[in-house]
Amino acid sequence: MSIGSPLWEESKERKQTRKRLILYGALVTAIFFVLVSRLFWLQVMQEEIFLNKAISQSTRWITEKASRGEIMDHRGNVLVSNRPVYNLTLNYLGLKDQDITQVVEGLVSVLGDPDITVEAVQDSIDAQASRLYEPIVIKRDIPLETVIRLEERRWQLPGILIETSPQRYYPYGGLMGHILGYVHPIKEEIDQAGYENHGLGDLVGKTGIEKSYEFDLKGTNGYREVTVNARNHPLQEVSNLPSVSGNSLQLTVDLELQKVLEENFDSVLAAVAENYPKAQAGAAIVLDVNTGGVLASVSRPIMYPGDFNGNPLTQAQADYYFNQQPAALYNRAIQGSYVPGSTFKPITGMAALASGNITPETRITCTGSYWFKPYIKCTGVHGSLNYYQAMAKSCNVYFQEAARRAGIGMIGKIGHEFNMDAKTGLDLPFEGAGLLPSLNWQTIEFGRRSDVINKDIDKQLADLAATYQPLISQAATEQEKKSLERELRSKVNTLEARRRERLNADTIWREADTFNTGIGQGYNQYTIIELAAYTATIANGGTYYTPYVVDKIYNPDGSLKYQHEPESRKVDVEQWILDVTKEALTTVTRPGGTAYSAFAGLAPGIGGGAKTGTAQPGRVGYSKNKDFDGLFICFAPAENPQIAFACVMEHGHSGSGSAGRVAKAVLEYYFSEKPQEELPEEPAAQPGEGPGEQQVNAE
């Protein structure tokens, strides 16, 4: 056994082993050198890169969505508020494509929601392809059980976040839905001016006040910077920039009056629909005659803002709001144009008085139909009538003659004074403008039509020439050439005749057009807000107030940011004409007047002025002489009027029988003995302005 023998000390093997051990030592040194070099590279040369990676993967910016401002009625009743909901979002940052598929599949299986499929989520991602650094909202307002289910599997679903965010809440459902408008995810707005601070996934106002006051209501999102661990659980907050909620709005609308208006509009509409099933739509507005403030406004079919609110619409909802007739999304009070019928007659009357060709006492005899073509019939045989009586009876003969004497130029001028040919400019989006067939309108419209007709005929002439020229030049014989030229000349003549015929038919104002206009038919078309504003202007003695809905804007701290100052202008109509017309309208509400029934229930001494209208719109879906829109305009009280009202009920058949019944309910509520709370800071309603005010009594 040589092990441990003294020979080892000097042996060759020992020397060799020592050499090998030194070699081994060198190998170990090399290994350590490599390790230390690598460490030096990682920790000293590359420190910044890795430190940044460590920080960025452990830091999250969490957006804290700002609450939109609340919307209140003029007494402070909250009409739109907010409630916190859970939203499911996908944070694309830090995920690779193969992970996204995996995460989305996992998410879909956890949710088990038929609406949320892999394709649907992919669509949401694609829709946001250019802004993937912002969280993608997959579903809003998910129930708590789903939140818990997702939280349990959160580590399997990197990038999936559940954020709470405030969502619109409508305590009164569809009440005032059209005025309030709805919010929905931002789309094309994102590239528009003013929306620079919006992000994808934000809900923005699409209609109504929500849209027109978007920048007041939105508020400023806050941000929290938090560090998170590997499983995305927050560890600590690094910085916090709190969100600032939007400004709140106080409307001119009175909640109770609004309720009365909507309830009665619905019940009248239902009653009318029993006889006239086509009656499904309409609108009404109540204005404060001394400020232009909208006290109540309704449009039917009803719109529930909560149906939108960031949620995708079902097909049935989409049909209801957009596709069917009548489409519910449309605010008929400001967007719909209606043939005014007899509610236009005060304009005709004022134009006739202003022309000097008629006085209030001028008598015109109604024999049942007008004596000029097209001999439009009257509602009865009224006999001899002055201005007041004609208004009370709504005599078509009188107002056709009045229109004839005034001339369409004067009608247009008076209509223009009452802003019937332009948007009122109230603070709601998508307002429509009426069509007043003034001379100005005729010039533009007939010019446009002439262009169309001339272009059409010129083109046909050119075509004709192009067809005949080659034939003529190639004609074999002189005989044939002559025959062709004759043929061409005859065809050209026919076309020129057709040109004259068409220009004559479509681009010339006829007397009959004036007669039709005089009784609110023909080209006339106005929005309900235009009718209400013009009624208010007559009622207050000639001051046209621009209607408005938002009265005050409050900062989030409750301080007043903005107080609406009514915008007004005096109409350029002689005061006596206004006064006489106002008086004429009051006769309509007295016994024998067409609006008597609407005012019959009011306490004595209140009274008011009104005009009914039954219009033949001649639109799609209306049979001539069978389907009529019912319209009604009124103001009250007779002395120092406070409110003006305008209403249309599509297919309402008659003004007094449909819109008039809504007016009756509103008036009776408004002038009933009700607990008159506060209203302290409002100055007492001003009487009609100007020293020229005078009392004109009816005959």
Binding site: S2, I3, G4, S5, P6, W8, E9, E13, R14, Q16, T17, R18, R20, L21, I22, L23, Y24, G25, L27, V28, T29, I31, F32, V34, L35, V36, R38, L39, F40, L42, Q43, V44, Q46, E47, I49, F50, L51, K53, A54, I55, Q57, S58, K96, D99, P158, T227, V228, N229, A230, R231, L235
Partner: protein, 378 residues
């Protein structure tokens, strides 16, 4: 007898013990911060358990000095058979943990036979190779040595415990190197083996060759080459390990201040990825100090080997050095991204009492060689 004990105590290599103690202490410090989350979760004080095992280890080290290991006769064969039986037992009665059947339960005791097997293999190989006295020049002479070491290696591989198998390979090569094996043949075998493995994996990935690897083992190799192949799953550890080490910088973020460590970006950070914690909290300086301590310890071991009274002692120490060097290279290497990820702990630092005790016994064997360096002592 008393004089013998005195001589033993006098001959103990205290330099080595000091290095060992310093490494252990550094280990406790790092373990404390690495195990905060796990301690809370499982209600276990890892540092205390580890320290207890270390204390036991020191007792074992001293006990081991009572006899001259090179004079233990006829124990080699028994030990070799015992080792193989133990490894065989694991295959039949083993308990699974972390994907391998590495554990055996004896009543309340639970241990990994692979850990003592490493020590036993070193001892047996040292005896076996010493008997050959450097006769390891021809393929014919080297083949039996490879068969001798290959049997336990295959048993470990069958568990399957690729990490420990690689440790066995390292021990085998290291000891053959020290024992005077033909350098170019060893180099050829090592290089050829590595090349063959790479070719095999490449063939598997590209042409679907059969490969006896589990999916996770293959993926670890794939993401070692390209961590971005699957950064959320298999590549995660590779990426996070480097971020953690790299973000430590020169001076580190301070004890207990590592955000990556505290946030749990790394799994098993109190065992396999403990070096990352060291790197993040103590920076390059801390890593350098610990590596220097290891380096000093290993050089000291090689010095003791050089002073050994016989070939067996030199080989025994070389085996221990091979064991430690491979563990350090593999563990630190995977933390810094130059080695693929395997479950190999850092000696004396990673939590794990079986491994710690085995390593302490290995140290005891090295010290034993130093204590009995004089052939005429007793």
């Amino acid at each position: 007898m008393q004089s013998k004990i005195k001589t033993i105590i006098k001959n103990i290599d205290y330099t080595l013990l000091v290095f060992l103690l310093l490494i252990l202490c550094a280990g406790f410090v790092v373990l404390d911060s690495a195990s905060v989350a796990a301690s809370v979760r499982y209600g276990i004080n890892y540092v205390l358990l580890q320290a207890t095992a270390a204390a036991m280890g020191f007792v074992l080290i001293f006990c081991l000095q009572v006899m001259d290991l090179s004079r233990l006769l006829n124990i080699e064969r028994t030990l070799y058979i015992l080792m193989n039986l133990m490894l065989l037992a694991v295959l039949f009665f083993g308990v699974s943990a972390k994907g391998t059947q590495g554990w055996i339960e004896l009543g309340p005791l639970r241990f990994q036979p692979a850990e003592p097997a490493k020590i036993m293999l070193i001892f047996c190989m040292a005896k076996y190779l010493a008997a050959k006295k450097g006769q390891l020049k021809t393929w014919g002479q080297m083949l039996p040595a490879f068969i001798y070491g290959g049997v336990p290696l295959l048993l470990v591989l069958a568990q399957p415990d690729l990490g420990t198998a690689l440790v066995f390979v390292a021990i085998l090569f290291g000891m053959l190197l020290a024992a005077g094996g033909s350098l170019w043949k060893l180099g050829l075998l090592f290089g050829g083996g590595l090349g063959a493995v790479i070719l095999w994996i490449y063939g598997h990935l590209n042409w679907g060759w059969w490969l006896p690897l589990q999916e996770y083992q293959l993926m670890r190799l794939v993401v070692f080459i390209n961590p971005e192949y699957d950064p959320r799953n298999w590549g995660w550890n590779v990426i996070q390990a480097q971020i953690t080490v790299g973000s430590g910088g020169l001076w580190g973020q301070g004890w207990g201040q590592g955000s990556q460590t505290a946030s749990g970006y790394l799994p098993e950070q109190w065992t396999d990825f403990i070096f990352c914690v060291l790197g993040e909290e103590f920076g390059f300086v801390g890593c350098f100090v610990v590596l220097v301590l290891f380096f000093a310890l290993l050089l000291r071991c090689l010095t003791i080997a050089g002073r050994s009274k016989d070939l067996f002692g030199a080989l025994l120490v070389s085996g221990v050095v091979s064991l430690l060097v491979f563990h350090i290279l593999q563990n630190v290497g995977m933390a810094v991204g130059i080695m693929p990820i395997t479950g190999i702990p850092l000696p004396f630092v990673s939590y794990g009492r079986s491994a710690l005790l085995a390593n302490m016994i290995a140290m005891g064997m090295v010290i034993n060689v130093g204590v009995y360096k004089d052939p005429l002592m007793f």
